[in-house]
């Protein structure tokens, strides 16, 4: 399905043609490629991961200044050497700054990065080594035309690399997952802290510096110029994470430039660029054809050190699991307690789940069921108590570690990755598991859950019931040993509900264990082997459906306590 916004594409093509067709002496043309490339790099963190950084100009400057200083009279390094050091310098600073700053969310991250960038700008203005406000002057290295073609080549190269790097690689899927729903990403095994830092360093110290330096070689290195480039950065953000969208902003700007750019006209270009950007923003997401389902790259090109951990391969069968004797519980929860402010949400909960059991959890609103799931899956840390899974104490573990151990979950409010298609949602789930077989498995699941008709539809356009199914599918991609289902049938059409139940039963036969929070009593009665009833954060009854239905505490929990 082609979702192309033709006016924007036309605009881009015209601009490229106009500014790119003839290499004249206009300084702005190579600059276009520079900005486009920088925008691409910024997009890694801002567009793909959703962490809007206003500070990338700082890394650009650090890299450029480092290289420039090294190439100057004091050190006299050759270009190649200076380049390498420059890129490394930017990367190192990004790693150092990134670690504390990435802990901030949203607006605060943006402010902090902006503050950092302005700090660096001030430093550059002040220090003698950077030449103060006058900047550094360096002799030009290259002939104009050669320079131009190198920049053009560099821009094309960058787009290609960004495309390969981000759109179809595991790294790209990880980033988009973080942007759309960081918690859901964690429960799928993605180590969000590490991925964010990788993205940050990558966007700061990547090979774009090469082109930046070339570009700057026939200008002065000036702090203000650098800052302006930083401001241009957010402009390259048309349609978050659309790779071709990145250069539309810069190209619009360039096309308005008069050759021999004067300082006054640069802002004109900026102004027009923003104008287009504001307009383009309304078409966010429409600048590029929607992704067609293709095979993701088998090789992971961009995430060094990504651990190949995870549960059994997609084609695992019944008997590879569930070998544990019935006497050893799969999951044991002891004395679990969690308080929020003054409210005790979970109060000393204790139960066990045997392998291949389907245990239902019911109870009034606010009885602590979802909090219990959050504790077991690691989204919340318990204040007291222990959680033991397969004999291992996982209390206090991070969600991605627990996920990698074999626990999967769905959320009460569907936590699908909103800007990705159904297909991509399923693929993302396999990012920390069997990536090679992911497309096959995704096909199977789409068919099984009757979602093939909507495989290319953006997840937030799906109906509520379809989103629930998609979430179930996502969990199943990883083939977990224990699955926590939080009201998975709420809002789902009865026929689809039957599909879900069949899937659950089939999986149980293959060795999966289930903990199911439900309000639909009919479903609970027919599906669950055993039921736990919760009220006020405690388990007040446990047994078969018939047993709990007659239990006086359960009746009181549902019908209310008699006062007199």
């Amino acid at each position: 399905m082609c979702d192309v916004d033709w006016p924007s594409q036309g605009c881009w093509c015209c601009s490229v043609c106009r500014s790119g067709a003839t290499p004249t002496s206009s300084v702005s043309q190579p600059a276009f490629f520079l900005w486009a490339g920088l925008a691409c790099a910024w997009n890694i963190v801002g567009g793909y991961a959703g962490y809007i950084s206003f500070g990338h100009s700082a890394f650009f400057g650090i890299g450029a200044y480092a290289a420039g200083i090294l190439m100057g009279e004091r050190f006299g390094l050759p270009f190649a050497g200076a380049l390498v050091v420059g890129v490394a310098a930017a990367g190192v600073v990004a790693a150092l700054i990134g670690w504390p700053t990435l802990r901030l969310r949203g607006a605060y991250f943006a402010i902090a990065t902006w503050a950092f960038a302005e700090m660096v700008l001030q430093l550059a203005n002040v220090l003698r080594i950077t030449g103060g406000t006058a900047g550094l002057t360096l002799p030009p290295l290259l002939d104009e035309r050669l320079f131009y073609f190198l920049m053009l080549g560099g821009a094309v190269l960058t787009y290609g690399l960004c495309f390969v790097l981000l759109e179809r690689s595991r790294f790209g899927y990880r980033l988009k997952a973080i942007r759309d729903n960081e918690i859901a990403a964690e429960t799928l095994g993605i180590d969000t802290t590490r991925v964010k830092l990788q993205a940050f360093v990558l966007s700061a110290g990547n090979h774009r510096s090469f082109w930046r330096h070339l570009c700057l070689l026939d200008h002065l290195y000036q702090p203000n110029q650098r800052a302006r480039r930083g401001h241009y950065r957010p402009d390259g953000r048309h349609g978050l994470a659309r790779r071709l969208g990145a250069p539309v902003g810069p190209s619009d700007r360039s096309s308005k430039h008069v050759p021999g750019e004067s300082p006054v006209l640069e802002p004109v270009g900026e102004y027009h660029g923003l104008h287009c950007r504001a307009w383009c923003r309304h078409r966010a997401g429409r600048l590029v054809p929607a992704r067609r389902p293709g095979k993701p790259l088998a090789a992971d090109t961009a995430a060094p050190g990504a651990a190949r951990s995870g549960p059994a391969p997609a084609t695992g069968t019944a008997h590879s699991r569930g070998g544990a004797a019935m006497s050893t519980p799969l999951l044991a929860v002891e004395g679990l307690r969690k308080t929020f402010g003054g409210i005790v949400a979970v109060n000393g909960v204790r139960f066990q789940v045997a392998p291949q059991e389907i245990v239902g959890i019911i109870g009034p609103n606010g009885s602590g069921k979802s909090t219990l799931f959050n504790l077991i899956s690691g989204v919340l840390r318990p204040d007291a108590g222990r959680i033991i899974f397969r004999g291992q104490d996982i209390t206090g573990w991070k969600p991605h570690q627990i996920a990698r151990l074999g626990i999967g979950r769905t959320f009460q409010i569907p936590a699908v990755f909103t800007t990705m298609t159904a297909w991509d949602n399923l693929l993302t789930a396999a990012v920390e598991a069997d990536w090679a077989h992911a497309p096959q498995r995704a096909e199977q699941l789409l068919a099984l859950l009757t979602l093939d008709a909507v495989r290319d539809v953006r997840a937030d356009s799906l109906s509520g019931g379809q989103q629930k199914l998609l979430e179930l599918g996502r969990v199943l991609m990883r083939n977990p040993t224990l699955i926590l289902l939080d009201e998975v049938t709420a809002g789902v059409h009865p026929t689809l509900r039957t599909v879900m139940l069949d899937v659950v039963r089939e999986l149980r036969r293959s060795g999966t264990t289930f903990l199911v929070i439900e309000h639909d009593m009919e479903l609970v009665r027919t599906l669950c082997d055993r039921i736990l009833v919760m009220d006020f954060g405690e388990v007040i009854a446990s047994g078969t459906f018939a047993e709990i239905a007659a239990h006086p505490d359960v009746i009181e929990a549902y019908l209310g306590r008699r006062v007199s």
Binding site: G50, I52, F54, P100, T101, R103, L104, G106, A107, Y108, A110, I111, A112, A115, F116, E118, M119, Q122, L123, N125, V126, R179, D180, H231, P234, D235, R237, L240, P263, V264, P267, V268, E270, Y271, L274, H275, R277, A278, R281, A284, T418, T419, D460
Partner: protein
Amino acid sequence: MTLFIQTIANGLLLGGLYVALAIGFALAFGVLDVVDFAVGQWVMLGGFIGYFLWKWTGIDPFLLLPAVFVLFGGAGYLLAPLIMRVRTSRYARPELMVLAFTFGIALIMRGGALTAWGFNTRSISTGLGGMTLQGGGIALPGLRVAAFGFALAAVGLFFLLLYRTRFGLAVRAVAQNKQSARLMGIDVERVSALVYALYAGLTGMVGVLMAAIYSVTPEVGVRYTLFAFFVVVLAGMGSIAGVLIAGFVLGVLEALTAVYVSGTLTFLVVFAVLYLSLILFPQGLARRGRS
């Protein structure tokens, strides 16, 4: 010693203006849930509009302040629905989109100002320019004292509006629980737009005074955005009382750095303190309970 007291006094005088600047910003954040990156640009535009009005009419800038308030208030009232639309939109992370949107507005303002008026600095002179108050060994420029007086008056009126009028009650209700406010019959969207208008008007007026005390160029906006963030971050977003203190802290910090360290390093120091407080005290920003 007198130098020290003089510096502190100068810092306090300026701090009053920073309080006026930050208080509107803090309220807009509390009510609309939007971090307005364009705050400094409103100040810059206020300076320029004030300059041109003064040039064309010859009226003393202090007397022009109400006109600037109305002008900027109107602009803010028109802009507010757009901002709220982005805030409630369907983009991934609407709270970040609105951030980028206001950043974009800031860039447009700065670019537009550069295009229209160039790099030259403009300065407004007032009748109070020459006066100086002397006492206790320190000299206080009359202009700054007058500006401080204005800031006090503006902040005072602001608090009166917020705590003594029916509208102010509605504003505080909206900031604390939007859903309940609707149930009381309050038109939350209209109240939000009016708050943004109030904020824009107040910030515009501060801009006029800054143009009189210092001068104004299109580049000056960044500095005031920084200052507004600084005050609000240190105060803890949503704490009005904190803004009162933090504004003066900023003024004094700036004055001390300028005198005892170096004039050129003031921004660096202020930025550094802002960055560190964000890193070290992130909870200072999230204390406010929102509906």
